[in-house]
């Protein structure tokens, strides 16, 4: 995927609630590349135009699993706090 495609995909998946300033995607991609989570290469797409493509690496996939797990832990605790029986707002 190239940058513009990633932005489009992000908009589609988030039903346009994600209003990312598009330029800020690139520092993020470059950081991920520096850390070895993605790799980039130049290639021609279906339109014949050459672009810089990004691909996730094995290291990146491992990190993704880890980040998902952390998100799970985080969101579960947030849910417990704001909606759970123990600390539920309903108690007030």
């Amino acid at each position: 995927m190239y940058g513009y495609e990633i932005i489009k995909e992000l908009e589609d998946r988030s039903d346009n609630t994600f209003n990312l300033k598009e330029g800020t995607l690139y520092p993020i991609l470059h950081r991920l590349e520096n850390e070895g989570y993605v790799k980039s290469y130049r290639a021609k797409g279906s339109t014949g135009k050459e672009r810089k493509y990004y691909q996730i690496t094995t290291k990146g996939e491992k990190q993704l699993i880890e980040e998902r797990r952390q998100w799970q832990v985080f969101s579960t605790s947030v849910n417990k706090v704001i909606g759970g029986e123990k600390h539920g707002i309903s108690k007030i």
Binding site: Y2, G3, Y4, I7, K21, E22, G23, T24, Y26, P27, H30, R31, N34, K49, R51, K52
Partner: protein, 234 residues
Amino acid sequence: MEFQKYSDFLDAVLSYVKFPLDREEIRLELSDHIVDKIQYYVEQGLSYKEAEAKAIMDMGDPKDIGSQLNKEHNPIIGWLWVISKGLVSIFILINIFIVGPRLLYLTFSIFAPSPIKDIPKEDIVYKLDINERVQIDDRVINFTDIVYDKNETIHIIYNYYDKKIWRMGWSHGYLGTIKDDKGNEYFSGSGYRGGGIVAKGRKSIRDQAQVTEEEVLLQRGGKALGIFLGMLKV
């Protein structure tokens, strides 16, 4: 900040990126993105000018993007990377052009047959297996065999190398003359082969030394080579 043209926007972003060698690639990537976005808006029915302005707006603040990119394209790391790549190439070149031929020479000289093979077997009267190492300055001489043939010629088989490996290009396998502190010459004349790092050689001394069988046999007792050399004083 408003930008009329997307190239101005790109200039603004790149002004924050300190490492010059990555700028072109970053510019290309960002410009690909904006061009795609302009095309998208044009397809939506906007004029090119409107489309361009909107696409630039969508990108965000050039200072934000530029300074964030600058963090990922650290000039120190960038230059170190460039320099290390340069050094690697230089190192490879050195290996190819300087060390390479010498190593080839080394392998050649190590596997070169020992000069002892030049002496016909049937001529050998005595063959002594000695293993004497002598170090003279940076030269290490390893005497391996002494052969006394039926023509009353003594052949000393040796190999030697220079401990200063960078000097090996100038050693041509010729041992030259060895003198002691009193100026006595022990070793001169011709009869060598080899070259490179390890040279193999043979010295043949005829008659002059007047070495008797008994004296040669003395060496079996493992006497120091110095004694033997002493006998060979020219």
